[in-house]
Amino acid sequence: MQKDWILGDLLIWLRDNLLKERPELFLQDNSVRPGILVLVNDSDWELMDTVNYPIQSKDTITFISTLHGG
């Protein structure tokens, strides 16, 4: 049986496959860096046990950085 993908797995996948440089600006320990908000289907991921949330088919996951001046 295929293993369920949790959000923490996605972060590692993003680091290994999409990030081109300096992963420390996105990740810290096993989570996102403080200041980056994660939304699952437009809801705060803190409501879903953050990195332990099992990703469902058609989920929309959004990363919002608050580490900018805009």
Partner: protein, 374 residues
């Protein structure tokens, strides 16, 4: 030894903090108790979309509303007497200070283009002012906003040349902040770190104006209606209203380079782990008030300079302590004479300059060539 309360800890069960239960989607909104939540604030409150948007709007209005009483003289020209109390009409003019020197010329132009687009979409008047032009040709903002914005790759270099080469990063930031403060609106983490930085730098007396709701040091008053919002609230507000904020890449920060950076890191960590404490810092700062009987005003930061009284200020006490600790006492004379000696010596080196406050007097040597911009 007092043992009141110790009995509670005998079995060891109270030594460990009870683990807080995590929020789940099955929780209901703290406010309406009906809808599903979509955001967790300060690790303690969950809100649904509707209640979150209503409470942020209410918070913004109440900050302005409460302060209305205190700043009536300032706002009276903007109150529309035909509308219910607490409602004001504003003429909005947005001024953007361009100082993104960490970006390339192309990126800077793009940022300005995006911001102009966003602001004009709301139908507000918009002006863009170059910070470096202001520093090179100090003058009224009113004159600068009518000039065309000119960006150059050399802007950062020009800024470095204006400032003294030997200046520390802490002083550099203080000087730039003084120059920018006229138009900046800070949000709460900025306010909290600014508040603690000010205290560290000997600007304790300026806390009420520098990080309070209203900075009324000059003719143009700065209000900070967003100071009680945390960055997460603002980010969610943007997201839930489908707003597209303009992202600006920030320069990499070495936390140990300046007091400002260190305080920023401290507050950011607090925000992450104990978010309610940031509000406590801001609220505690609100309780500090100015002694308005002071008549001396610092030439640089325009804040009130504490007047001399019979008691030594903390700065004077430190200097006295330094003098006593570094002077070899003359034991051939009596104790009273030794005291008289050191006292006379202290008075002879006392600074009676009321032109600058304590913090600005430390910075003064570095700003001689840009004093007019500040």
């Amino acid at each position: 030894m007092c043992s009141i309360g110790d009995e509670e800890f005998e079995d060891g069960s109270f030594k460990i903090m009870t683990k807080k239960e995590k929020f789940t989607l099955s929780n209901k909104c703290n406010k309406c108790r009906v809808a599903d939540p979509c955001v967790v604030l300060r690790l303690t409150n969950v809100y649904c979309k509707c209640c979150f948007l209503a409470s942020t709007t209410h918070k913004f209005q109440s900050v302005l509303g409460k302060s209305l009483l205190h700043f009536l003289h300032f706002l009276k020209t903007r109150i529309d007497l035909n509308t219910p109390p607490k409602k004001c009409r504003y003429k909005v003019v947005v001024i953007f200070i361009e100082d993104q020197y960490q970006l390339s010329l192309k990126e800077r132009e793009d940022v300005i283009k995006k911001i102009t687009h966003e602001v004009l979409l709301f139908g507000f008047m918009f002006y863009c002012v170059s910070f470096i032009t202001y520093m090179v040709n100090p003058g009224q903002i009113n004159k600068l906003i009518n000039e065309d914005l000119q960006l150059s790759e050399k802007d950062n270099e020009t800024l470095c040349n204006i400032l003294d080469k030997n200046i520390s990063e802490t002083n550099r930031k203080q000087i730039l902040n003084l120059a920018k403060r006229r138009l900046l609106i800070e949000i709460s983490t900025d306010t909290a770190s600014l508040l603690l930085t000010n205290i560290c730098l000997g600007r304790g007396s300026q806390v009420p104006v520098d990080s309070g709701f209203c900075d009324d040091r000059e003719e143009i008053k700065i209000l900070r209606p967003l100071r009680l919002f945390d960055i997460k609230e603002l980010a969610f507000y943007n997201r839930l209203n489908n707003l597209e904020p303009v992202f600006v890449r920030q320069r990499e920060v070495n936390h140990y380079l300046s007091v400002n950076n260190l305080m920023r890191q401290f507050i950011d960590n607090l925000q992450q782990n104990y978010p309610a404490t940031v509000t406590t810092v801001v609220k505690t700062g609100d309780k500090l008030t100015l002694d308005r009987t002071n008549t001396h005003i610092c030439k640089l930061c325009k804040s009130l300079v504490p007047k001399n009284n019979s008691e030594l200020s903390s700065e004077e006490s430190t200097r006295f302590s330094h003098l006593v600790s570094t002077t070899v006492p003359n034991y051939t004379i009596s104790r009273q004479e030794r005291y008289q000696d050191i006292s006379t010596q202290f008075e002879s080196v006392a600074i009676n300059d009321h032109d600058y406050c304590y913090a600005c007097s430390k910075m003064y040597p570095f700003i001689k060539n840009i004093e007019n911009s500040l």
